[in-house]
């Protein structure tokens, strides 16, 4: 972390003296009322002590990389002891392959014993393309592209990409020009594409004949001359442009190995169904999805703007962008900051009033520090990054740290910050979104939900980061009679606290979760087998909670325990839902995975906490699916931290749109589904003949659900 220019001698003494911040128990930060100046409330705002990760203990003499000016004026790599770099006020960035965010770092209990984190090994294995989500060996040649899930590639993986892509272009000027000529390309249905493939060439011939007979040079001129043909010309030109862009994208995807090229037909053998060149089919869409996941592009699986931009860059340029992204996460973790410019308004960054009374703009520290690290380590260009990876072989990244000098953090930073979270639900619609034919019509929202992390500083609420999130909505739910109904799964509002944070959390699917979503097929020892869908349960990046979750609860009064209504703020495998206008949850507040990690990493390091460790649990539940019994077994709740005191959370109601001012309670029969005559258990009883609209009407009439 940046030392802010304070206490360099103390830092050196601390590091050289081998005093471990982790060794003195699970209470990691100095608790109020303890230590120097304990009785003084100002101690709360004292600069933080440097945190030494367990894996860095005893490595104070280890050489770390820094770049210095050589005699010829060029930068030259130099290795200096870690302790010296820290004493110089530098920040150590960890490039090692077994790096993880703080959430998955090794931790010790109060007795100094290591606390095992079940998901740490898997997290590292995923980042290194060695393990799959279950922690089993990855198939040879398989790659994990998991940045959108919050798991960035290790530096060894990045190095391999750079070396493999050196000299590879995968591009031709015509293809680049085609992809740069459009903002995005439509994704028509397969039937529409087939119709166009027959119709448009015919139109082309007709238009060409018309052009020749009109004696003009281009179709554009023809359209001007004959306005009756303008629509046809426009349609034809759009089709031909789309064809060129799709062909260029195909070429690129084949070159990078995301899409299989056209195979030579084998006589006597029925050709396998595969991608049809020039068609945006499921193979093409799937290849785009992998490409987007490799390059961390939050877009639907089609030729959208950011996807096209990445496709039009060289592989090495994209590798460099990937390196910067991976480096950013490590810089943010090392510097222990969260500000990323997400609170900027149209007029620029927001401001806070400093101790001296000045209005100071909020900085985008994630970007500022990453740029500083990139510049100081000479990683500015794809070529310089390639040279860096050529200088350092793969083994070097087993243990590799670099030192960079970062500007001090803003004055509101301290060991224990008065952080809080505000969730604004945005526009809320309670009306059913499905009609009597079960056709869904998503409500229109102008204002989307957001989650803001803020700090109380000198009487001001300073917003540090603000991200898109989700709220609950209408979902399918399983009833005890085995049939599915709809239910409004809302996000409740009011004051809450964040007490527990779980790394590698497990979501225990409630009995109301539709069973079809709890079973999947998996290849086990060479045979496809039905298994419980542990992907959704976790721990894992595909879990309903992503790789980290914070629990929003109503604090218990007196000796009463907290009231948990099941609302969490967490990462999500459904990584597009946060940015989708139709993205809703079951009530939780989803965050982009890497931002959820940043949020909780930051909170845990700026609040008093207790490291609870693995939360063992012996949970098992059986259910029936297609005459087979599936047994869900969950041995752990995840690796848990407890904030002490808990962090305040406020969930704002947002703007209630539509006629219904309260959500409909209870299950609503799905339109078009036949249900058995037997009633559901009392709490689930529904009027089996009523439709959603009728129930909505009734609820409106009553004024309350």
């Amino acid at each position: 972390m940046p030392t802010d220019g304070f206490l360099p001698a103390a830092l050196l003494a601390l590091v050289l003296g081998g005093v471990s911040a982790c060794g003195n128990g699970a209470e990691e930060q100095q608790a109020p009322g303890q230590g120097a100046g304990a009785a003084d409330p100002a101690a709360e705002s004292a600069p933080e002590e440097p945190r030494v990760a367990v894996r860095d203990e005893g490595h104070e003499g280890e050489p770390v990389l820094t770049l210095a000016d050589a005699a010829n004026g060029e930068k030259q790599e130099r290795w200096i002891p870690a302790a010296q770099a820290l004493a110089d006020g530098q920040t150590l960035i960890d490039f090692s392959d077994d790096w993880t965010p703080y959430l998955f770092e090794e931790q010790r209990d109060p007795a100094g014993q290591l606390l095992p984190n079940r998901y740490r090994r898997v997290f590292i294995g995923l980042a290194n393309d060695q393990l799959d989500g279950d922690g089993e060996q990855l198939e040879p040649g398989s790659k994990n592209y998991l940045e959108l899930y919050g798991i960035f590639p290790s530096f060894s993986v990045l190095r391999e990409r750079f070396l493999q892509d050196e000299g590879k272009t995968c591009l031709d000027p015509e293809g680049v020009a085609a992809m740069q000529s459009v903002k995005s390309v439509g994704f028509p249905s397969l039937a529409q594409q087939r119709r166009d493939a027959i119709r448009q060439p015919k139109f082309g011939r007709e238009l060409e004949a018309a052009r020749v007979s009109a004696g003009v040079a281009t179709l554009a001129e023809l359209a001007e001359l004959k306005p009756s043909l303008a629509a046809k010309v426009k349609d034809f030109e759009r089709w031909t442009t789309t064809g060129r862009v799709v062909a260029a994208a195909e070429k690129r995807l084949i070159c990078e190995g995301f899409l299989a090229g056209p195979a030579e037909p084998t006589p006597g053998k029925k050709p396998k169904i595969k991608h049809q060149m020039g068609v945006q089919d499921s193979y093409f869409s799937n290849a785009l999805r992998h490409f987007q996941q490799k390059h961390m592009i939050y877009e639907g699986h089609a030729l959208r703007p950011r996807t096209l931009t990445a496709l039009a860059q060289t592989p090495l340029q994209n590798d460099h962008a990937g390196l910067v992204r991976a480096l950013r996460e490590r810089v943010v973790a090392a510097a222990d900051v969260v500000e990323d410019g997400s609170t900027d308004g149209k007029a620029g960054p927001q401001t806070f009033v400093s101790k001296s009374g000045e209005h100071v703009p909020l900085r985008n520290l994630a970007e500022e520090y990453t740029n500083a690290a990139v510049a100081q380590l000479g990683l500015d260009t794809p070529e310089s990054a390639l040279a860096f990876f050529k200088r350092h072989d793969q083994k070097a990244f087993k243990r590799f740290r670099a030192a960079v000098k970062l500007a001090p953090r803003p004055e509101y930073y301290s060991a224990h910050m008065e952080l809080s979270i505000v969730v604004d639900r945005g526009d809320v619609w309670y009306e059913p979104w499905f009609d009597e034919k079960d056709k869904w019509r998503w409500p229109t929202r102008q204002r989307f939900p957001s989650l803001t992390l803020q700090v109380d500083y000198q009487g001001q609420k300073v917003p540090l980061a603000r991200w898109r999130t989700t709220i609950g909505g209408w979902r399918a739910e399983q009833a005890s009679n085995g049939y599915e109904y709809y239910r409004y799964k809302g996000s409740d509002t009011g004051p809450r606290v964040l007490r527990k944070i779980s790394a590698g959390p497990v979501w225990i699917a409630p009995e109301t979760e539709p069973i079809r979503s709890l079973v999947k097929s998996k290849k086990v020892e060479g045979r496809w087998q039905g298994v419980v869908n542990y992907d959704a349960l976790g721990p894992g990046y595909l879990s309903a909670y992503g790789v980290v979750a914070g629990y929003f609860v109503i604090p218990g009064q007196g000796d009463n325990p907290d009231v948990d209504r099941g609302i969490r703020a967490h990462g999500s495998s459904d990584y597009l839902s946060m940015y989708s206008s139709n993205g809703y949850s079951h009530g939780c507040h989803r965050l982009p995975n890497h931002l959820a990690i940043r949020l909780y990493d930051f909170v845990l390091q700026h609040r008093h906490k207790v490291v609870k460790g693995d939360g063992p649990m012996d949970f098992a539940r059986q259910f029936l699916w297609q005459d087979h019994v599936y047994e869900m077994r969950i041995p752990s709740r995840g690796f848990e931290f407890e904030l002490d005191p808990p962090m305040p959370v406020t969930v704002l109601e947002g703007t209630i749109k539509g006629e219904l001012k309260h959500p409909i309670e209870g299950p609503v029969p799905k339109p078009g589904v036949r249900y058995p005559p037997e009633a559901l258990p009392p709490e689930e009883q529904v009027d089996a003949v009523s439709t959603a609209t009728q129930r909505a009407r009734a609820a409106t009439d009553k004024g309350s659900p």
Partner: protein, 202 residues
């Protein structure tokens, strides 16, 4: 005086020839027990029979802790050219020097029935009425997704983890009692149920 019964005559006959019959009976019994033991060992695949990285053993049901009779652990097969995967947490915790590199997974059924345990395409072995199946795996080597099948019972798909020694007690349900399991879907009577909205009077 009554004539001796046929059973009494048979006893007298056996008594006269006991010097021959007793050793012969003993031999038959030994052969029978030997045959049963052989058949039993045949039903348990050895690690060399397609259970790489597996040690399969059988223990007496009344044994306190599962005791492997013939534990045989094969190192996990190296896959791909990638560097060695990250060390398991257990390896990080070996400061204490007490953690083994392998774990034992014990499978039992309730009620106790003979049941076949399949791990994907590989047969791990049988759970017997009086003897659970014990499998030895490298510690933290990923989960075992198994299917347990017993005659006249519904197959059960379950999972065993390899973080530490564990016992998987699996409740098995007779086929005819499947309606007792959550998720059982009540069949619709032919002429009942909620009418479609289109069938509703306005």
């Amino acid at each position: 005086m009554n004539e001796p019964t046929s059973f009494a005559r048979w006893l007298a006959w056996a008594d006269e020839r006991k010097a021959v019959l007793l050793p012969a009976g003993g031999a038959v019994l030994v052969l029978l027990l030997g045959g049963l033991w052989w058949a039993n060992t045949r039903s348990n695949p050895s690690p060399s029979h397609g259970t790489a990285a597996l040690g399969v053993a059988r223990v007496s049901a009344d044994a306190g802790a599962p005791r492997a009779v013939a534990p045989s652990v094969v190192a996990p097969a190296a896959v791909g050219a990638a560097a060695a995967p990250p060390a398991a947490p257990a390896a990080q915790c070996t400061d204490a020097g007490t953690t083994s590199n392998t774990v034992k997974v014990v499978f039992r059924t309730f009620p106790p029935r003979r049941a076949l345990v399949m791990w994907g395409g590989k047969r791990l072995g049988f759970i017997e009425r009086g003897a659970p199946l014990v499998v030895e795996r490298p510690r933290d080597s990923g989960p075992l997704d198994v299917v347990i099948r017993a005659d006249r019972y519904l197959p059960v798909h379950t999972r065993a983890y390899t973080f530490n020694d564990t016992t998987i007690d699996v409740r098995i349900t007779p086929i005819e009692k499947k309606d007792t399991i959550y998720g059982y879907k009540e069949p619709l009577p032919p002429d009942a149920g909620a009418p479609f909205p289109s069938e509703m009077p306005e």
